[in-house]
Symmetry: C2
Subunit: 198 residues, 2 copies
Amino acid sequence: MGKVYTGASTSIDGYVSGPDFSGFDKLFAWYEAGDVAFTVPTGAMTVHLTPASAAYFGGLIQTTGALVVGRRLYDFTNGWGGQHPMGVHTVVLTHRPLENNEHFTFINGSIEEAVAVAQKHAGDKGVGLNSGEIARQAIDARLVDEIFLDLVPVILGGGTPFFAPGKGYELEGPLSVIESASVTHLRYKVKYEAAQAE
Amino acid sequence: MGKVYTGASTSIDGYVSGPDFSGFDKLFAWYEAGDVAFTVPTGAMTVHLTPASAAYFGGLIQTTGALVVGRRLYDFTNGWGGQHPMGVHTVVLTHRPLENNEHFTFINGSIEEAVAVAQKHAGDKGVGLNSGEIARQAIDARLVDEIFLDLVPVILGGGTPFFAPGKGYELEGPLSVIESASVTHLRYKVKYEAAQAE
C-alpha cells in the first residue's frame, strides 16, 4: 500500500487561502513561473513550471493513485468540472453526499473510512489529502505519513491555515528541499511516536 | 546604513512559540543539532550547530549591529541577565520603560523611533527585530528589508504567530536556502511596492 500524504501551497504565515478565499494568484504563482509546459493527466490545464517544479510535480502525480478532499474544496472548484485534474479517483468527505460516479466517491463518515476507500482505488500508489481541515483530521487520526509543503514567498495575513489549531506533532526532515522560483518544495515525515509520548 | 530584518525559529504552522510559551525545546533543537561548538559574542552560552547552521548564525551575528525587541520577550528572558547574548545594543519597545543602561534603551514610542535609535547604535551594520508583534508592526511601517525564517520541522498547533493576522505582503525569494539538521534557513526580501499597489 502506498503512502498517505498531504500537501499544499502555503504562505510563510501558514495559510493555504487568504482572507475570503483570496491570494490564490500568489499561492499558485509557481504554476506559471517557468518555461516547462506541463499538462495535467486529464488535459484540463497546462501550466508552465520551472524544471525543478516540473520534476517535483510530475513525480507527485506519478505516485498519487487517489485523493481525499473536503466538501468545501469540491464545491469551491465546482467539482473540478467533472474530474480532478490529476485524473485519479477522488473521495469527498462530506455530511451532504452527492451520488457517486466513476470519478468521485462521497463519504458521509470518518476520515479513516475516506482514506480506506481512497486506498482501494489507489492500489500500490499513494493517497493525497487536500485542504486544511482534511489534513488536520487525518494527522490527528495518525493516517498521514508525509507532509509536502510548497512554501510560497508571501504573507497572507489571515485566511485558512494549512494546519488548524490543535495538537502538536514533531516532524522529521525536511526529507527533501527543492528550490524553485516563487516556491520552495519541502517534504517532511510525521513522527507520531514522539507526539504520543508527550 | 545597514539593513533592517526580522527573523525567527518558526514551526511549519507559523508559530514562534507554542501554546502557553511551550515548544521552545523543539523550535531551538537546531541549537544542539551539530558538533560545531559556537559561543555567542558575550560568552553567555555555547550551542552546538551543524556546519551549515554555524556559518548562517555566525554571518547573522557579524552583520547585526543592534536589536529591537518587545517588552514581552525582554521580560520572558529576564533581560537576558543584563545583556543580549549577541552582545549588541538592544532597544526595548515598551509602554512601561525601565531605566536605560549601556546595553538597553527603553523606548515608549513608535516602532519608527525604536528602529531609528537602534540604527544609531548599529552604525554601518544591520538592525534585527525580534518577536512576532515587533515584526508585524515594523513590516506595516515599511521598515523591514528582509525576513529570515528558520523553519523548524514541527507543528505546534497554536501559540504566538511570527506574523500576526493583518495586512498581506508579497516577498521576493527565497534569496537563500540553507539546509541543516532540524531547521531550514530561508531568507526573503519584502516587496512593499506590490503590496501598496493593491
